[in-house]
Homo-oligomer: 290 residues x 2
């Protein structure tokens, strides 16, 4: 059996952002906290924390924290049946695509989190890579575009998010005066979320264009819309992200009216992480995407 006192010290150091604060929280001296981290590292044969330039867990430390969290989730269920055990509030680590996080996510899970005192540790991942985090045991659940099931996990489809290629009317007049064309696609600056984001490539392939094109990289959903609104490029913007309102106000328009892309979303989670994940899954089942 692992010594959970040591894991608790590790989690507290990360949570509090330092050894001294962790000591205060645990009612221990700073050196007692250091000693616990050291014991963990000796047992593991490798470091669990990187101290400089800023405090963060090593990959091994992250695995330990994730395991600690899963054990806490199981304890949470136990406490439901044995309420005299007292209360705790573990954080549930979830990988999520940025566009869901800035649109429907909080409304879907807010009520459950409030009612159960559930805390989330959200990790933003491109929709095509979050699943790897789940497979690696780095998160307890993952919301992503891949339907591929992984051993030991369940996969629940949630629907699809629709994306349209939007830009300012000025931008369209400058770069697409004659509508979409191979020449225009080759020269018009686009906005791409990140190096793993294939939405823009998929959209261009759908329009019959397979070459290279100039683009900004902007790994923030809201920042992405801001760049589009400033006339810096066109980008695939989710309909749920005020796109309809921005189009209705005349601030954005489609560079290729009628063209859109749908991205399916799937919820993957470990089967044995406890009932709270089942309840979260039920809450997500109520969502209507578009």
């Amino acid at each position: 059996m692992l010594d959970y006192k040591l894991l608790h010290a590790l989690a507290t150091v990360i949570e509090c952002g330092g050894f001294e604060r962790a000591g205060d929280a645990l009612g221990l001296s700073q050196s007692a906290v250091s000693q616990r981290i050291k014991s963990l590292e000796v047992r593991l044969g490798q470091p669990v924390l990187i101290r400089h330039p800023e405090l963060h867990p090593t990959p091994a430390g992250q695995r330990l924290l994730n395991h600690y969290q899963q054990v806490q989730l199981l304890e949470r269920d136990l406490r439901t049946t044995l309420p005299t055990l007292g209360e705790s509030a573990p954080r549930l680590r979830i990988a999520i695509n940025a566009d869901s996080l800035v649109t429907w996510w909080a409304d879907a899970v807010g009520e459950l989190c409030r009612a159960e005192g559930l805390l989330l540790d959200l990790v933003v991942e491109d929709q095509d890579v979050g699943l790897k985090r789940l497979r690696d045991g780095d998160v307890a659940a993952c919301l992503c575009a891949s339907p591929q099931p992984i051993a030991g996990a369940r996969c629940v489809p949630l629907g699809e998010m629709a994306y349209q290629p939007l830009a300012t009317p000025d931008y369209i007049a400058r770069h697409f005066p004659h509508g979409p064309s191979i020449d225009a696609f080759r020269q018009a600056p686009a906005i791409v979320f990140g190096p793993h984001d294939q939405l823009q490539h998929r959209f261009l392939a759908q329009c019959g264009y397979h070459g290279s094109f100039p683009y900004h990289l902007c790994p923030s959903s809201e920042g992405f819309v801001r760049l589009a609104l400033a006339g810096m490029g066109y980008g695939m913007i989710p309909q749920m992200m005020q796109a309809d309102a921005l189009v209705a106000e005349g601030r954005l328009a489609s560079i290729a009216p009628g063209e859109s892309l749908s991205v399916p979303l799937y919820w993957h989670f470990w089967r044995h992480s406890g009932n709270v994940l089942e309840r979260l899954t039920r809450a997500l089942g109520q969502v209507t995407l578009k």
Copy 2:
């Protein structure tokens, strides 16, 4: 002298998201592109690309790409004085804090980017760590909270962003019925941007509380506001991010009226990355933060 044909192949593979597409863009066969990447790796004695599960540069590959970009920036200046050389559009890699990206950034730089055909590669970093990227040569400029100058770079102060601790009125009635207190801070769920984010800790220290507290982790500025609006916690929200409007509408309120935090912002950039950075710096000088 480096063989820039090889660096160009590497940049194109990353831009196009694959060897086949890069071949199309370069007018080469897929195997000719592979051969160029391989030559680069042989010369360097280590891989520049990771192919599975998704294509991305290794840290060494990233350094090469950054160097390639800096050389392109210098070429851009050269082209201004020798216009017959033809045109190119390198991407400028910049580390930026998330809250700037979703508020004032695009309006400040949009006009310059449009006028010069300048493309950005934005890397979102916590305000306290972006500088490390600049020091490592991973970005050409960095917008962050640290005034600490680094050798070879200039540092320009841009002003301060103000943050207030906001939550829904319901949340405040539930968790802070008698206003802020040590007991309330110990139990009320907060929202923290990420493990490097010290804003919440600074705010609590300012209120005289130094212990641990429950919190969600949400590394997305807009997602952060969504969690607050869903009543999941209170969080430090920038005034520039519609905070005043949300407070005026009664959707959010301060848990500690009168308390706020100011985060200074500084623009750091390499001195010898070309004139475009000078012009970008002038554009940023026009910004009024609050």
